[in-house]
């Protein structure tokens, strides 16, 4: 959402006095992070620099591209794909529907402006959770949503197997839990980003917390929330590999398998189905958005003559969304939902187990997961008998045995200290997070830069409807040219986000070998696709009146100097969010062979060494929370300056 510029003299004065040191700080921080990313993890560029490796990589790329052009269109396989598509769609829609409901409830608690509202506490006081009961509730809700999205969905799925057994419903619920965490974060952040002044009238007129949300914050945030929910729905539909992990089938799991196996004709067919699904989800969400659009000045608004049609629009939009949700429930329960070669049955039945206490007892199976192993004996704490034993085998960390703390200026001292620390399991856990972080930092940065550049040709406002604010009338061929640009940009965006990030990872693994380079490129391309859509959408959401006032002759400079600054806040919110989700993606990439935190976590989890897995999980959660709090703190900072 854009902000109105406050022209009162005091705010101008304050602005004039302020130096933009915060922006410099931000740039320096990013630079330091990028350098650290290259320093902390091993980047193996040999596949690019070594001529032999490069030759193999390009030969493989070519071989794959040629097989890509001949998809497997045998009727059997098409039928198989169609069944998988329906399964994916129903499970993902069910997951999303549940997630939207749960996330709204959770966000009520985790949004500062809803649960706390205006308060006396200012500045650093706001970081203390115990300042008031509602503040405590707020931090608790934030913790819950962080945990929900930090835990990879396949882990939720395995945990849910203990409660409700195998089947697509388990996958859908796991997806729902994961997406709840994601949506609740976004909802609460979007609500908190609404300028307090824009809804203070509701408060002045005596509206309570909920009234402020429904009549003030809600309507102001509705458009952003709507686009994000629909975008997330699209992502969920595409990425729903988890459904297969616990016995549900689905496109994601099959693609994952076929890619590993290198069955490229089949992968191509599956990809076409995935892309078609993405495209229809895209069209469906555009349809819903258009029905619900309420800005009468927007040129994309449907101008119906009859009052009936005008009144009916929101109902049509909502009914359409609801009917898809109902279809997914019907399909899972009563439709022809058999996995290939099996009988269809009611997959909703296990839901009854959710309300029986017996099944919940099975959760004790994962009890050890919440008792993480901190390996205290190694650092001389905990059980003293064991400590002595460990000391004998010199397995304890004896940090300052060869170098004293005051010898910190010797580089060799640091090497030695590091080696000592290496003995401590928790230190190794912390160090393992360097790899996902490095991938996410570099990948997101590349993705954001690419998305800002691509948003210009991707935006409807600047490509097709610029005459609305420039006042020019173009000959048909210029309009055609711009339409071409728009189509190419949209196509690029669609392909780069329509292809699951894991698929990109495998593709790049094939070219560069498993490693950071492959993972980073996959993250960069996928982020580009996701971000370009939301970036250009926030550009298109700006009323053209604002461009009209600022237009000085060139569309490009209007984009750079008007659209950019207006959307900047939204862009940064999305980018930070993307970064956070990229850290989680990078953790998942660890599972498919790139290493680091995710790899070690699944390794221990799959070996049921749950105490150790618990420590890694704690690290994943800690990463999520740290990044989330930083992003919130940055928004706070921007508000105050």
């Amino acid at each position: 959402m854009y902000r109105d510029i406050d022209l009162s003299s005091s705010s101008l004065n304050r602005y004039a006095e302020k130096r933009p040191w915060k922006h410099w700080a931000a740039i320096v921080t990013i630079a330091v992070l990028v350098i650290a990313a290259f320093y902390a993890a091993e980047w193996d560029f040999s596949s690019l620099t070594n001529p032999d490796d490069r030759k193999i990589a390009f030969a493989r790329m070519l071989a794959w591209l040629t097989t890509f052009s001949s998809p497997d269109f045998s009727p059997e396989f098409l039928k198989h794909c169609w069944a998988l598509t329906l399964q994916t769609l129903s499970a993902a829609t069910l997951g999303i529907t549940l997630a939207v409901i749960l996330a709204t409830l959770l966000a009520l608690g985790s949004s500062r402006s809803v649960i706390i509202g205006e308060e006396k506490a200012q500045g650093w006081m706001r970081f203390i959770a115990f300042r008031s009961p509602s503040a405590l509730l707020c931090s608790l809700c934030r913790l819950v949503q962080d945990i929900l999205r930090a835990i990879p969905d396949f882990v939720w799925a395995v945990i849910l197997v203990a409660v409700i057994g195998l089947g697509p419903l388990t996958g859908a619920l796991a997806l729902a839990l994961n997406i709840t965490g994601i949506l609740a974060k976004v909802y609460s952040e979007v609500w908190d980003n609404i300028e307090e002044r824009s809804y203070e009238q509701v408060r002045i007129l005596g509206g309570g917390r909920l009234a402020t949300l429904f009549y003030g914050i809600g309507p102001l945030a509705a458009r952003t929330i709507q686009s994000f929910t629909l975008m997330r729905a699209e992502c969920a539909i595409r990425n729903a590999a988890v459904i297969g992990a616990v016995g549900g089938g689905g496109l994601g799991a099959d693609i994952w398998y076929q890619i590993q196996f290198g069955a490229w004709p089949k992968v191509t067919t599956l990809m076409i189905f995935t892309l078609a699904l993405t495209l229809s989800a895209d069209l469906a969400s555009n349809f819903i958005r258009r029905q619900l659009r309420s800005d009468p000045n927007h040129p994309r608004v449907i101008k119906s003559k009859s009052i009936h049609a005008q009144v009916a629009r929101p109902y049509i939009g909502i009914l359409f969304a609801l009917s898809i949700a109902f279809w997914s429930v019907w399909f899972m329960g009563y439709g022809d939902n058999a996995p290939p070669g099996q009988q269809s049955r009611n997959y909703l039945e296990p839901a009854i187990k959710l309300v029986s206490t017996d099944s919940w007892k099975n959760l004790s199976f994962f009890e050890r997961l919440v008792k993480p192993d901190f390996d205290l004996e190694t650092i001389g704490l905990g059980d003293q008998v064991k400590v002595k034993e460990f000391k004998k085998e010199s397995r304890t960390v004896d940090l300052f045995s060869s170098y004293r703390p005051w010898e910190f200026w010797k580089p060799s001292a640091w090497v030695d200290w590091e080696q000592e620390m290496q003995k401590w399991f928790v230190w190794r856990v912390i160090k393992s997070s360097a790899i996902p972080l490095a991938m996410a930092i570099v990948g997101t940065l590349l993705g954001v830069i690419g998305a800002i550049l691509l948003s210009y040709p991707h935006s409807l406002a600047f490509m097709l409807e610029s005459s609305q604010f420039t006042g020019e009338t173009h000959p048909w061929w210029i309009r055609g040219l711009r339409f071409g640009q728009l189509a190419v940009a949209k196509g690029l965006g669609l392909v780069s986000r329509g292809v699951p990030d894991v698929m990109w990872a495998f593709l790049f693994i094939a070219f560069f070998g498993p490693g950071l380079v492959a993972g980073t490129l996959a993250i960069a391309i996928h982020s580009l696709g996701v971000l370009v859509r939301v970036f250009s959408e926030s550009v298109d959401n700006i009323p053209y009146r604002r461009f009209e006032q600022a237009f000085m002759g060139a569309r490009m400079s209007c984009y750079g100097y008007t659209a950019g600054p207006i959307c900047w806040r939204d862009w940064m919110t999305y980018s930070f969010f993307q970064f956070e989700s990229n850290v989680r993606t990078a953790v998942v990439f660890g599972i498919v062979g790139i290493g680091g935190l995710g790899f070690f976590f699944t390794f221990n989890f799959e070996w049921f060494r749950l105490e150790k897995a618990g420590t890694y999980l704690l690290m994943i959660i800690a990463l999520t929370i740290i990044i989330d709090r930083i992003s919130r703190a940055l928004n706070l900072a921007r508000k105050s300056c």
Binding site: A162, G165, G244, P339, P340, Q342, S356, G515, G593, W607
Partner: protein, 303 residues
């Protein structure tokens, strides 16, 4: 106004919640009797299509013999299959040795091994190498470790929780060469399943790999040519069908009998052909206790 609504709402929710949880779980009440259906699952060591087809056939055979509808549910995660059996959400599971041991550690005496294939008592695994990498056959793995010095070779196991494509090849390698594979090879990866290992070694993505015997034997000659065997492991115990004792002695015996006669039905024959076996034989948990002890000893499994 709002508070006056809130209290009845909470009460209604509570009543509703209690009335539902008051119902007894149909599955539990029938535990003593015969269950209405059997859920069978397996560790995903091959493609979903193959496993759905052939384990579906075994399920059908059991259904025909025992007389209880049996359904095969395919999962693509090893841990999910162990969890399903250990928490009573599945009744019968096709496990490898590692997953059997993992399930035993969770379930203790609740776990019962019903039957194993004839080949599972003397199972072997292969080390394979890409044909273009010019890696000769080796007589033991110490020799392989020596050859690999300074060559920057890459290596792939199957799944992390697999026996014949991870634990056993790894422990043979460590025992014979005295070093972990991670210290010898540039990359040590986990491709997911046996057939993927073969595929990735054959197309040169990895120099070397380890996998079990049946998946290699049933692969096409073309693939085998591109990824020849360079070492065959000593024999070890592997797969079996595990179940829960809660099913009742009688039913377990019936399932046991059904598996013993698998080779007699046409669908069973087809499944056995896929499994690379003549038929099922008796088996007991004690034969897998070695693995339980191995895992409990905290063996270094990478990671």
């Amino acid at each position: 106004m709002r508070r006056s609504l809130l209290v009845p709402m909470v009460i209604i929710c509570l009543i509703f919640g209690l009335s539902i949880s008051g119902k007894t779980n149909p599955r539990q009440s029938l535990a003593a009797e015969r269950p209405q259906k059997l859920v069978m699952t397996a560790i995903p060591d091959d493609s979903a299509e193959n496993m759905r087809e052939f384990f579906g056939l075994i399920a059908k055979h059991i259904e025909n013999t025992v007389g209880i509808p049996t359904e095969y549910v395919h999962v693509s995660n090893y841990a999910a299959s162990v969890t399903a059996l250990a928490t009573g959400q599945a009744d019968l599971a096709w496990f490898g040795a590692v997953t059997t041991a993992q399930a035993y550690i969770m379930m203790e005496d609740e776990l019962e091994v019903v039957a194993a294939r004839d080949i599972d008592k003397g199972f072997i695994g292969y080390f394979i190498a890409n044909a273009d990498a010019n890696i000769p056959e080796v007589s033991d793995l110490a020799e392989l470790a020596e050859l690999a010095q300074g060559k920057n070779w890459t290596f792939t196991f199957g799944s992390k929780s697999s026996t014949s494509s991870h634990l056993m090849p790894r422990s043979f390698f460590t025992d014979q060469s005295g070093k972990n594979p991670e210290e010898i090879f540039r990359t040590v990866a986990y491709s997911g399943s046996h057939d993927v290992v073969l595929q990735k070694v054959a197309n040169g993505e990895f120099h070397l790999g380890a996998l079990g015997q049946p998946p290699y034997d049933r692969a096409s000659d073309n693939l085998k040519e591109k990824a020849p065997i360079i070492y065959t492991t000593p024999k070890f115990t592997n797969y079996n069908f595990s179940t829960r004792k809660a099913l009742g002695r009688e039913l377990i015996d019936e399932i046991h009998a059904a598996l013993m006669t698998l080779h007699e039905s046409p669908e069973g024959k087809k499944a056995l052909e896929y499994l690379g076996s003549e038929g099922f034989v008796d088996a007991d948990m004690s034969e897998w206790m070695g693995y339980v002890n191995l895992i409990r000893s905290g063996i270094d499994i990478g990671g």
